[in-house]
C-alpha cells in the first residue's frame, strides 16, 4: 500500500506546479496559433511542443541528460543550429532584386534603428528601475527588432541564454504578426500620393553578378566587421552554392533535408528554454513589450528613410517598401505589396520590396556583429 502511495507520488498530478501548468497552456496556445492561425508554424510547432515537454515534472527532458537539453547543448550553446539554418536561408535567397537596385540596401540599414533604440529602451527601463537588464540582455532584446529568427537566436544564445526562450518566442510571434503591426504605421507615415508611387522596372541581373555578390559581401564583412562573419559567412556560403549552379545536390540538401532537420532540433532546443522557472519571470514581459516596440520603430525608420531618399533621388522609391527593410522575409515584402495595392490596384511592389527585405537580413546580421563585438567581449 505504501508502494501504491509511492507510485502516486511519481505521477504528474502530484508533482506538477501551477507555473508548469501555465507554461503547458502557453505551449498549447503557441501550437494553436501556429496550426490554426498560421503563425510561423515551422518554428512555433517545435518550440511550442518543446515548451510543453520542458514543463513535465519528474523526468529530465529539458535538463540534465534529457534529450531536449542535449539538443540545446549540441546546437544552441555552440551556435551550430542557427548558423546552419542561416546557410539554408542563404541557399534559398535570391539577391537579384537587390542587385538590380542596390540603393535599397539603405532601407535595410535604416530599419535596424529598431534594434538599437530598443536596446536603449531596455537600458532606460533599467535606469528608472522598472526592469534590471544588463547590457548583454538589452542587446539580445534589441535584436528582436532585426525580425530575423536565426540571427536573434544566435545572438541571444551568446549574450543572454537565460532569455533565449522568451526572445525566440517574441521574434517568431512578431514575425507572424507583421501583417498586423506594420500597416497602421506605414499608413500613418505616408500620404496616399506617396503610396501610389510606381517604381521603374527592375533590370535583369546576370548570373555572374549573382555568383560574385556573396563573395563581395563576404570580403566586405571580413574587412569591416569580422564579428559578423560567422552569420554572414554561412549565409553567403549557402547563396554561393545555389548561384554557382555546379553543386545543385548540395544546394538542394541545404535547402531541404538539412534545414528541415536543423529546424526540428532547433525548435525543440528553444522550447527547452521555456521552463516555468526561466520564462515566468517579469523580464519576459519586458522582452515581449520591447520586442513589439523594436518591430514598430524599425518599420517606421525604414519608411522614413525611403522618404528621405526620395528627396535626393530622381527615380522615386515607394516609401512602403522601406517597411520591408526589417526583414521578416518574405512576409514584410508581401505586406508592402498589399498596402501598395490598396492605394493603387495596378502597382505591384513585391519584387521592389524584396530588395530591402533581403537587405534587412544583411543589416541585422551586421548589427548582430556590432553587438557581439562590443557587448559580447
Amino acid at each position: 500500500m505504501s508502494r501504491l502511495l509511492e507510485l502516486w507520488q511519481t505521477t504528474g498530478i502530484v508533482q506538477m506546479t501551477l507555473p508548469q501548468l501555465l507554461m503547458i497552456a502557453i505551449g498549447l496556445l503557441l501550437l494553436y496559433l501556429a496550426i490554426k492561425k498560421g503563425f510561423e508554424p515551422l518554428l512555433l510547432i517545435p518550440i511550442g511542443f518543446g515548451g510543453i515537454l520542458a514543463n513535465i515534472p519528474g523526468v529530465d527532458i529539458a535538463v540534465g541528460d534529457g534529450i531536449l537539453h542535449q539538443f540545446y547543448v549540441m546546437g544552441l550553446e555552440t551556435g551550430v543550429f542557427p548558423l546552419l539554418i542561416f546557410m539554408g536561408v542563404g541557399a534559398m535567397t535570391d539577391f537579384g532584386p537587390l542587385l538590380a537596385n542596390p540603393k535599397t540596401l539603405l532601407l535595410g540599414a535604416a530599419a535596424q534603428f529598431g534594434i538599437f533604440s530598443t536596446l536603449l529602451g531596455a537600458l532606460y527601463l533599467t535606469d528608472i528601475g522598472v526592469f534590471n537588464f544588463t547590457l548583454q540582455q538589452a542587446a539580445a532584446i534589441g535584436i528582436i527588432g532585426g525580425a530575423d529568427g536565426p540571427t536573434a537566436i544566435y545572438v541571444a544564445g551568446i549574450l543572454a541564454p537565460e532569455m533565449l526562450g522568451a526572445i525566440a518566442v517574441a521574434a517568431y510571434s512578431y514575425m507572424a504578426l507583421v501583417p498586423l503591426i506594420q500597416p497602421p504605421i506605414m499608413r500613418a507615415l505616408t500620404t496616399v500620393e506617396e503610396r501610389k508611387i510606381t517604381m521603374v522596372q527592375l533590370r535583369e541581373v546576370s548570373q555572374t553578378e549573382k555568383i560574385i555578390f556573396p563573395l563581395l559581401l563576404l570580403i566586405l564583412v571580413a574587412l569591416v566587421i569580422p564579428s559578423a562573419a560567422p552569420l554572414l559567412g554561412m549565409f553567403c556560403f549557402g547563396n554561393l552554392m545555389k548561384e554557382s549552379g555546379v553543386v545543385t545536390r548540395l544546394s538542394d540538401t541545404a535547402q531541404n533535408a538539412l534545414i528541415n532537420i536543423v529546424t526540428i532540433l532547433l525548435g525543440l532546443s528553444v522550447g527547452s528554454k521555456l521552463g516555468a522557472d526561466q520564462f515566468l519571470v517579469s523580464s519576459t514581459l519586458g522582452i515581449l513589450s520591447l520586442g513589439m516596440v523594436a518591430f514598430s520603430i524599425g518599420t517606421a525608420t525604414g519608411v522614413l528613410m525611403a522618404k528621405l531618399m526620395n528627396v535626393f533621388s530622381v527615380h522615386k522609391v515607394n516609401p512602403l517598401i522601406g517597411a520591408a527593410g526589417v526583414s521578416a522575409v518574405p512576409m514584410a515584402a508581401r505586406v508592402a505589396n498589399k498596402v501598395g495595392l490598396e492605394a493603387n490596384p495596378n502597382n505591384f511592389l513585391l519584387m521592389h520590396a524584396m530588395g530591402p527585405n533581403v537587405a534587412g537580413v544583411i543589416g541585422s546580421a551586421v548589427a548582430a556583429g556590432v553587438l557581439l563585438q562590443f557587448a559580447g567581449g
Binding site: 508502494r3 501504491l4 507510485l7 501551477l18 507555473p19 501555465l22 507554461m23 497552456a25 502557453i26 496556445l29 496559433l33 490554426k36 492561425k37 498560421g38 503563425f39 510571434s173 507572424a176 504578426l177 501583417p179 498586423l180 516555468a276 515566468l280 519571470v281 517579469s282 519576459t284 514581459l285 515581449l288 513589450s289 512576409m331
Partner: protein, 81 residues
C-alpha cells in the same frame, strides 16, 4: 533472491495496473474529446494544408500578452507568499 522475485511481482502488478489505468483514462479522454469536437464541428472538414494565408487577428496578439502576463503575475504572487 526471493526478495528480488517479490520486487518483480510488485513491479508487474503496478506495471500492468498503470498500463490499464492509463489506457482506460485515455479511452475516456478520447471519447470526451471526440464528442466535443463532433459537437462543434459536425462535418468532417479537411484543412487547407500549409496555409500560407495569415488569419491572425489583433485579438490573438492581445491574447498572448494577456495570458503570459496573467501567468507571470500569478507566479510572482505565489512566490511572494
Amino acid at each position: 533472491m526471493d526478495n528480488l522475485l517479490a520486487q518483480g511481482v510488485e513491479l508487474a502488478i503496478f506495471g500492468m495496473g498503470t498500463v490499464f489505468v492509463f489506457l482506460a483514462l485515455l479511452i475516456a479522454a478520447t471519447k470526451t474529446m471526440s464528442a466535443i469536437v463532433l459537437r462543434f464541428e459536425p462535418e468532417v472538414v479537411s484543412p487547407t494544408p500549409d496555409a500560407g494565408a495569415h488569419n491572425g487577428s489583433a485579438l490573438d496578439q492581445g491574447r498572448i500578452v494577456a495570458i503570459i502576463s496573467a501567468a507571470i503575475t500569478q507566479h510572482r504572487n505565489k512566490n511572494k507568499q
